[in-house]
Amino acid sequence: MSGNGQMVPMTYREAVREAMREAMRKDERVFLMGEDVGRYGGCFAVSKGLLQEFGPERVRDTPLSESAFVGAGIGAAMNGMRPIVEVMTVNFSLLAGDQILNNAATILHMSGGLFNVPLVIRMATGAGRQVAAQHSHSLEGWFAHIPGIKVITPATLEDARGMLWTALEDPDPVLIFEHASLYNMAGELPASAGPVDIDRARVRRSGADVSIITYGACLFKALEAAETLARDGIEADVVDLRTLRPLDDETFLASVAKTHRAVIVDEGWRSVGISAEVSARIMERAFYELDAPVERICSVEVPMPYARHLEQAALPQAETIVATVQRMVHAHV
C-alpha cells in the first residue's frame, strides 16, 4: 500500500475480502468457517483466494450443518480463537437460531460475566435478485431484538472494509448483515482504509427538511430519492443507522430535531420490526420536535415472490420515498 491519499477501485465484495484478509494477517486467532468458503470461494465469491493464501485450517469448509458450525464458532471463541463464521443467507441462519439466541447471546449473562463470546457471524441478507421466499428476507430486525448480540449492517465500501476488524475486537458476538445486492457495488477506497467504529449512525447526506432514516441497501435508494427531492427544493438528511443493535438514538434524534420530519426506510417487514422501533424511539424522545407523523416505507408483508415485477413491487423504492416525502412536506407548508 502506498500513500494515504491514493484511491483504489474496489467492489463491496472485495472490501469484505480485504477486511478478512487483513484480519487473518494481523491476528493468528482469526479464522473463517462456513459453507463453501474455501474451495468454492464463497457462494457470493467473497472469500475467493483466501484458501490459497491461508490454507484449509484457517479457511474451513463446513458441512451443511448451520447449528453445529455456528455453535462451534461460539465454543472456539470461548476457547481463545476469533472465528468469523459465514452463514450463506439470513434464511439459513434460522437453522442456527438455537446457537445464536440460546448460547451466543446468553452465555455471558448466564455465567454471571465469567465467559464472553468474541464471535463474528457474517451473512447475506435482502432481496432483489429473484431468488424468492427462502433466500430473500431481511431478518436482521429479528436478531436486533435480542439482548447480548450486536447487529451491524455495513452499506458503504468504507464500512464493508472497516467494520469487520472492529467487530472482531469486540468482546461479544457481532452479527454482520451484508445485503446481497451490494456485493457488486463498485467504487473507490483510500489505500489506507482501515477499521471504523461499529456503534454510531452516520449522516450520509445533509439536509434541513426531512430525515430519511435507513440502513443497508436501502441507503442508496434513500440517497437517490434525496437527489430527486433536491430538484424539487426539498433537502433530505439521510441517516445510515449502520448498527441496529445497539441503536444510536442520538444521531437520528438529532437529525429529527433539525428537520422535524422523519421517514424510515426498511427492507424488513413493517410489523414489529426495526422501523417500528426507530419510530417508537422518535415518539418517546422527539415527539414535540415533529411537524408531521413519522412515516415508514417497508417491504410489503408477503413472503418475497419470484416474479420480478412482484418482487420490485414488494420492496421499498426510491419513487415511494420521494412521493412520501413530498406528501409530508407539502401537507405542512
Binding site: 485450517e57 446457537q99 440460546n102 460475566g113 465469567l114 450486536k150
Partner: protein, 335 residues
Amino acid sequence: MNAAPMNTTVTTPVEREHALHLLHQMLRIRRFEARAAELYGAMKIRGFLHLYDGEEAVAVGVMEALTPDDNIVATYREHGHALARGISAGAIMAEMYGKQEGCARGRGGSMHLFDAATRFYGGNAIVGGCLPLAIGFALADKMRGQERITCCFFGDGAVAEGEFHESMNLAALWRLPVLFLCENNLYAMGTALERHQSVTDLTRKAASYDVPAATVDGQDVLAVEAAARTAVAAVRSGAGPYFLECRTYRFRGHSAFDTELYRTKDEIEQWKQRDPITLFIHLLMDEGLLSETDLAELERKVADEIEAAVAFAEAGTWEPVEDLERFVYSDRRSP
C-alpha cells in the same frame, strides 16, 4: 427389554484410598441433592431442579479419567458433574439460592452452573445445544496444538436432536478431541428410549460416523471409570472423537414437577436394586476395603460439607437490582 438394568458385576480390584475417594464423591452428590430437594420444598430454591439421583457413578467415574486442563460441557442435570469436577458445594448451593456468591452470581441457577478454574462451561438447558459448543472448544484446542480434550455430557434425549448428528459428523470429519459422553437414563423426560429412537442401540449412531463407541454399566463406578479412561486415552491420542454410552437410570422424576405417569414403580424399584452407591458400598465391604466406621466417617464429612454449603448460601447476598443490566455485554472496564 431396554428398561432392564445391565447385569454386569461390579469391577474389581481397586485400591482402598481410591475406592473411598469415589464413594465420597458419589455420597457428596447424593446427599447434596437430597438437601437441595428439601430446600426446594422449603422454597429456598426455585425454578427447575433436575436431580441426578441414581446416575452419580457416571459423573464421578468420568471425572476421574479427565485432567484439570480438559474442558467440560454439561447439561441442565449437572449438579453432580459440577461437584465431581471440583466446583465448591457452597458456590453451587449459593447459585441455586440465586445469591451473588453463586458460581454464576445467581444469573444461571441450577441449570447453568459455570466455573472458569475448573474449565466448566455450563450447564446448558437446550437438549443437544451443548454439543456444537464442545466441537468449538475442541477445534480451538486442536488448531492451537493444545493437549486437552473436551468432554461433552448429554442424555439419550439429545440423540434425537439434529445438533447431535451434526456435531458427531463434524467431530469425526475434523478428527476433533471430543469425548461424547451419553448418559442414557432411558427416558427423554417422560418418553422412553424405544418410543423416541428407531434404533435403540445408540452406539450404532456413532458407528455411522465411524466414531469408536462403547457401552458401559453406568451403575458401576469402577466400570465407568475404566471405560472413561479407555475413551479419554483414545481421544487424547489424536485419533478423533469417541462415543461412550453409560447405561443408567434416574431414580427421581425429570424435575420437581414430574408425576411420573410414564413408568412403573416396579421398574424404579428394579433399578434401585442397582443403586450405584449401595452396590459400591457392598462391594467394598465384601472386599474388606470399607468398614461401618469408614462409612460413618465419610457420611459425617459429607454432612459437614453440605451444612457449610447451606450456611454459605444462606449468608450470601442478593445482587443489587441496579446491576440487573450487567453481563449483557462485556464490561470493558474489567481486565
